[in-house]
């Protein structure tokens, strides 16, 4: 009988610790999810008074803006710029 009690206690203890760990240490969101912002359209007024509609991505606070060396898609009349994750995501366990 004591074997059953010990096994039940061990299994339930493990499950309880798993639950506590999962509760207290929520998994970190993937990098791509963190970096994605909210797309929006704003009006930009140029020097000569001309107004343009510009597609922008509003990043969450604390994230660095990504820059590209190429011409803006809006300025050239093309499609909206795409947000590309420039850094590889390091997958590690968070404690």
């Amino acid at each position: 009988m004591h074997r059953i009690w010990a096994a039940v206690l061990a299994v339930w203890s493990t499950l309880a610790i798993v639950a506590v760990l999962a509760w207290t240490h929520p998994p970190a969101r993937p990098y791509a999810v963190q970096q994605h912002g909210t797309p929006a359209v704003i009006m930009v007024r140029g020097k000569n008074g001309a107004q343009h509609l510009a597609h922008v991505v509003i990043l969450p606070a604390g994230t660095s803006a990504l820059t590209t060396s190429g011409p803006s898609g809006v300025a050239t009349g093309g499609s909206a710029p795409q947000l590309i994750s420039a850094q590889p995501q390091a997958v590690t366990h968070s404690s």
Binding site: H2, R3, A6, A7, A10, S13, T14, L15, I17, V18, L21, A22, P27, P30, V91, T92, H93, S95
Partner: protein, 189 residues
């Protein structure tokens, strides 16, 4: 729901929890063994206490197996079979992981020695049983040095909780006068 389940590193959490439970069971088993050795809990229920002692050891070993299987199943840390069964084969903290590997194998030897008692004799079994102290030390060291959950303040607290009563019982075992054997008593009377 599937995305949430995929984002939770369940194997990693099970590995950590099983390791902690195994350490707890090993500590309880050590305390119980020393309490029996010092006759702190009396001599009446010795058979029942011995059964509990053996059960705690085997349950602890089962939790170590679960700990190892969960580490093997974890997709992030890439621990192979050699890393979890051979000392110093792990690429990550090889010394501290080896302490856990060696401790696990020694614990298996100590657990099996209960069954081999009639072949190795009482003296051989007792000598082999001294390995329990090595198992306890290696297990605690492994948990403290590579255990994710025992970093910071948790480590010293758990170490003090596990080591304090163990050291006290060891000193009691060493300093307390040995109980007279029945045969001596019978011969004296």
């Amino acid at each position: 729901m599937t995305a949430v389940a995929a984002s939770v590193p369940i194997a990693w959490l099970v590995a950590r929890a099983a390791g902690l439970v195994a350490l707890g069971l090993l500590t309880l088993s050590t305390w119980l063994g020393l309490s029996m050795s010092t006759k702190l809990l009396g001599t009446r229920r010795m058979k029942s206490l011995l059964a509990w002692h053996r059960t705690l050891v085997w349950t602890g070993l089962s939790m170590i197996v679960l700990h190892v299987l969960a580490l093997l199943a974890d997709p992030t840390i890439h621990f192979g079979l050699a890393a979890v069964t051979l000392p110093f084969a792990a690429p990550w903290h090889p010394g501290a992981v080896a302490a856990g590997v060696i401790g696990g194998w020694l614990m298996l030897i100590v657990a099996l020695s209960f069954r081999a008692r009639k072949w190795i004799g009482q003296r051989g079994w007792r000598r082999l049983h001294y390995l329990s102290f090595a198992v306890f030390g290696l297990g605690l060291g492994h948990a403290l040095f590579v255990g994710t959950d025992l970093r910071g303040l948790g480590g010293p607290i758990v170490a003090a909780l596990a080591l304090g009563p163990t050291l006290w019982l060891v000193f009691l075992r060493i300093l307390a006068p040995p109980a007279p054997r029945r045969s001596r008593l019978a011969g004296a009377t």
